[in-house]
């Protein structure tokens, strides 16, 4: 089709061609249909206006009521905002007063007769190695005297990982697009996805990661297993192992880590470690933390296989911490594992 001027549609020749082709009648039909629709709309608007005219008598009474209601609402909002400030300040002052009043009943700092400086620390220092069997007294406190606290802390990590899963999990539609990471995404998706601009398959990082990841893992396992002999334990060793996993992920991407660490392994490892912790320590929880002598002998302090249940508890806590660290990083970066 050649380009036509705008005036060509109004020319006689164009009208003649349209009449020959029979398109004039269709245009007329369409126009007539449009006219009918417009007539119906006019009728509807006339009916609406007539109904509005009937309602005007009632509206005059309602407007006064509405004005009074608006004034009442404005007054109420002003009163609410003013009282809210006053009440918040009052509540803060009352809480501060109550806390200071309770502080006045506490023993003075450095008081020799208070149990903090007297009984508890002395019991830990003098009888800690005998009762727990751990050379590292801090680990003996954390995993033997106060094992219930550590149980709650590991559950806090697990619950935090579950909440991040709920909030940051991506949609099912984007998962289908991410199955083929080699395929180039569309322009809109790449603009919405900042990870496109990340450097991928960096050769220097890959070569360094092959050298650094195995020593990091071995050092983390060493820290976990020597938790009762030297400074360290489940939390710090698990953090080291999680850092090694994150380095491996940064170097080689999600395809290689998906071979050994997926969502299912995350769930099973965390759940089984928490269940193992609960099963191994529940006897003392249910007896009100009365120290029943455990079936496992304490052994000689200083050996690796000593101090009863502290070594398996360290392993459980370390597994939970490593899984939550890697899971946080993977969820924040990808929205999945």
């Amino acid at each position: 089709m050649s380009k036509l001027r705008k005036s060509s549609a109004d020319s006689k020749w164009c009208r003649f061609v349209n009449w020959v082709n029979g398109t004039v009648e269709e245009n007329k039909k369409e126009e007539s249909a449009k006219d009918q629709i417009s007539v119906e709309e006019v009728a509807a608007t006339v009916e609406k206006q007539s109904s509005l005219i009937d309602k005007v008598g009632n509206l005059e009474g309602e407007t006064a009521l509405n004005q009074r209601l608006d004034q009442f609402q404005e007054k109420g909002m002003r009163f609410f905002h003013g009282s809210n400030k006053v009440m918040s300040v009052m509540i803060c002052l009352i809480v501060v007063g109550v806390l200071l009043y309770t502080v006045s009943f506490l023993p003075e700092f450095g008081d020799a007769s208070s149990p903090i400086n007297n009984e508890v620390s002395e019991r830990y220092i003098t009888k800690g190695i005998q009762e727990t069997g751990a050379v590292n007294i801090v680990t003996g406190m954390i995993l033997d005297y106060r094992a219930f606290d550590t149980f709650g802390e590991s559950h806090v990590l697990y619950v935090a990982a579950c909440v991040v899963l709920i909030l940051l999990r991506l949609d099912v539609k984007s998962k289908a697009a991410k199955k083929d990471e080699n395929d180039e995404l569309s322009v809109e998706e790449s603009e919405a996805n900042d990870r496109i601009y990340e450097p991928k398959n960096d050769v220097i990082l890959q070569k360094v990661a092959t050298c650094l990841v195995p020593p990091i893992m071995i050092f983390g396992i060493y820290v976990i297993l020597n938790g009762h002999l030297s400074p360290g334990g489940g939390f710090s060793g698990g953090a080291i192992i999680g850092a090694g996993l994150i380095l491996y992920l940064n170097a080689f991407g999600f395809k290689k880590t998906g071979r050994f660490f997926t969502m299912n392994t995350f769930k099973t490892v965390t759940f089984l470690s928490l269940v193992g912790y609960a099963m191994s320590k529940s006897y003392s929880f249910f007896t009100g933390a009365n120290h029943i002598h455990s079936i496992i002998p304490l052994g000689t302090p200083g050996d690796i296989l000593s101090s009863g249940l502290i070594l398996p508890l360290n392993i459980f806590v370390g597994l939970v911490v490593a899984c939550t660290m890697y899971g946080f990083y993977a969820l924040f970066r990808k929205g999945g594992m």
Partner: protein, 113 residues
């Protein structure tokens, strides 16, 4: 007399490392562009930490052959090796991100993409 020489050498090393770290922090805040700042910051965890840890080795009695001091020095050598592996790679990744994401890079400094 030998201990005094050890202390003097260790203090020279440690003071040198701390002064280099201070100069690098001045560079981090004084330069304008991200690449120059990153280059100044990468000085700290290579040269400054190397000098400080060598000074700590001298404080830990390098010339004695007891087991504890040998393990102490070996741990410090491992720390140096790990940092010299990790920190240049980290600065390399940061610079690569800067080169790929900065639109006005050719105005700031001439870098061949």
């Amino acid at each position: 007399m030998a201990e005094w020489i050890r202390y003097v050498v260790a203090s020279i090393f440690i003071i040198g490392g701390v002064s280099i770290a201070g100069i690098a922090t001045f560079g981090v805040f004084r330069f304008k562009n991200a690449l120059n700042r990153m280059h100044a910051a990468a000085m700290i965890d290579t040269l400054a930490i190397l000098l400080a840890l060598v000074g700590l080795m001298f404080l830990g009695d390098v010339f004695s052959t007891t087991q504890e001091t040998i393990f102490f020095i070996l741990k410090l050598v491992l720390v140096i090796v790990f940092l010299w592996f990790a920190s240049p790679v980290a600065s390399h990744l940061i610079s690569r991100l800067e080169v790929t994401t900065n639109e006005n890079l050719e105005e700031e400094c001439e870098v061949e993409k």
